[in-house]
Each structure stands twice: as C-alpha cells, then as structure tokens.
C-alpha cells in the first residue's frame, strides 16, 4: 500500500522522516522537562511542607 513516489522518493521520504523526527524530539523534550520540574517541585514542597498552588 506504500505509494509509488517515483524518482522523487528520496526527498519526500527524507522530508517526512526528518520533519516528523524533529517534531517528535520537541514533544519528547517538552514532556521530559515537564516531568523533571514537576518532580523537583514536589520534593521541594515536601521539604518546605506547603500545600497550596
């Protein structure tokens, strides 16, 4: 079911590959940073013992 890309297979596949890879990387980075900060904050608040926010 893979479409026939003809002589332009290279550019097209590369575009989709790289493009999606970059976006995926961005998403991964965002999630990772989010998780890290959330954890650190939880610890800090546990230490200081505050609950609001």
């Amino acid at each position: 079911m893979m479409p026939d890309l003809g002589k332009y297979a290279g550019p097209v596949l590369w575009s989709y590959g790289l493009g999606i890879a970059i976006l995926a990387a961005l998403v991964a980075l965002t999630l990772w940073q989010g998780a890290r900060v959330r954890r650190a904050l939880a610890e800090a608040e546990a230490r200081v013992g505050k609950t609001d926010g």
Binding site: P11, S15, G19, I22, L26, T30, G34
Partner: protein
C-alpha cells in the same frame, strides 16, 4: 470575571489542566489524518511529481513558524503593559516551539528545493527573510538563557521581541531588492482561490489545523512547566535564607 483572571498562575494551572487532554487528543487526530492522507492518498502533481507531498509538512510548519513569533510578540506586549507573569512565561515557552517549526520548514523546503530548483538553498527573498527570522529566534532564546533574574529576563526579552519584530519586517522588504525569487508566491493562500484542487487542498487544511493545535498544546505544556520552575526557584531561595 475578566479574562485577566486566567493571568493568575494558579487559575491558569487549574484551567489548562482541564483543557489539555482534549487538546492533545484533537492534535493527534488532525496530524495523523492530515499527514497520512497527504502522504498516502494524494495523487502526484503533473509538474512536481510526488514532491508535492512535502507541502503537507512544509507549508503548515512555515506558517506556524511565523505565527508563533507573532504570538510571542503579543504575549510580550501584554507582559510589558499588564505585568502578568503568565504571559511572559508563555512567550518564553513558545520560542523553542516556533524555532522547531522554523527548522522543519527549512529542512523540508531545502529537500524540496533540491529536485525543484536544483539547489538546496537559494538566496530568494522569502527564504532569506525566513532565515533571518530563524536568527531572531536564536537570539531571543539565547537572551532568556543568559540572564538569570527571571523578571529582568522577561523585560529584556520582551523589548527585544518588539524591536526585533520591527527589524524582521524591515528586512523582509529589504531583501526584495534582489531578484524576485524562485519561491512560489501565495499560490494557495488560505481563502483557496483556484489553482489548486481539493485533492491537495483538504488534507493540507487538516494538517495546518493539526500544526496549530500542536502549537497550542506544546505552548500550554511548556508554560505550565515554566510556572512550576518559577515556584521551584522561589521556594529554593526561601530555603537558602531559612
């Protein structure tokens, strides 16, 4: 209640916590549908052959790269006028996303240019001004990174964003002094004047929607992270003084 309610970090966190999941789901749907449709189920263009398929990444990315900067400009203005921390942090959060889109547009564009124009890169006005936009993204992010007092950094980057926008615009016109360039003009501007048939048009619109949603999702996520890290540093400096 005024919309500024949402500018209160706490309020913002609560609201976005509710919205985000739906947004995320919608994003995935649009992106998957748009790109898969574009990649698998669209015919080749008679001139450009299968390379038209690149359009479904290239155009949305390029559009959002520009719009992201505009959104940052607005957020910066809000920060300077009303001093709502959330808007400053939102601008900070948007920058990397915009940069990533810029890179996608550049890469896909370059890969498209190779077969179409016989070169990866040409100093075409549109390309050039886009490259300059990329530079402004770099500068903006670097400035955030270089200054450690958060409010100072917010002010400085906001000013930079405003001044930078002006100069970005100026360069856009300046580069027109050269050749009119290889790059298509607004061939398929959104109000869909004819010269592109539905088969290309519909999936394109869907993936554009997907990119917009992706942008929103990521910005919200990152803003939440920024807010949390602000609270974190506040707590830490308290501890240090305790």
């Amino acid at each position: 209640m005024s919309i500024w309610e949402y500018a209160n970090p706490k309020r913002f966190m609560q609201t976005t916590a509710g919205v985000l999941p739906w947004l995320a789901v919608l994003t995935v749907i649009c992106l998957v549908v748009g790109l898969i449709w574009g990649f698998f189920f669209t015919p080749d263009d008679f001139r450009q052959g299968s390379t038209v398929k690149i359009i479904y990444l290239h155009v949305p990315a390029a559009m959002m790269a520009i719009n992201a900067w505009i959104m940052m400009l607005l957020a910066s203005l809000i920060w300077l006028v009303r001093r709502h921390h959330v808007s400053a942090l939102a601008a900070k959060a948007a920058a990397p996303v915009g940069l990533a889109f810029t890179v996608v547009a550049l890469v896909t564009g370059a890969l498209w240019g190779q077969p179409m124009w016989g070169t990866w890169w040409a100093w075409d006005p549109r390309l050039t001004s886009f490259l300059i936009l990329t530079l402004f993204y770099f500068g903006y992010i670097a400035l955030w990174a270089a200054i450690e007092d958060p409010d100072t950094a917010a002010d400085l980057t906001a000013v930079l964003c405003m001044v930078g926008s002006v100069f970005a615009l100026l360069s856009r016109y300046a580069v027109n002094f050269w050749n009119q360039g290889l790059h298509q003009g607004a061939t398929l501007s959104l109000d869909k004047e004819e010269n592109i048939s539905d088969v290309f048009w519909i999936p394109l619109v869907i993936s554009i929607a997907g990119f917009i949603l992706l942008f929103l999702t990521l910005v919200l996520l990152r803003t939440r992270t920024e807010i949390r890290s602000r609270r974190l540093s506040a707590l830490l400096s308290r501890e240090a003084r305790a």
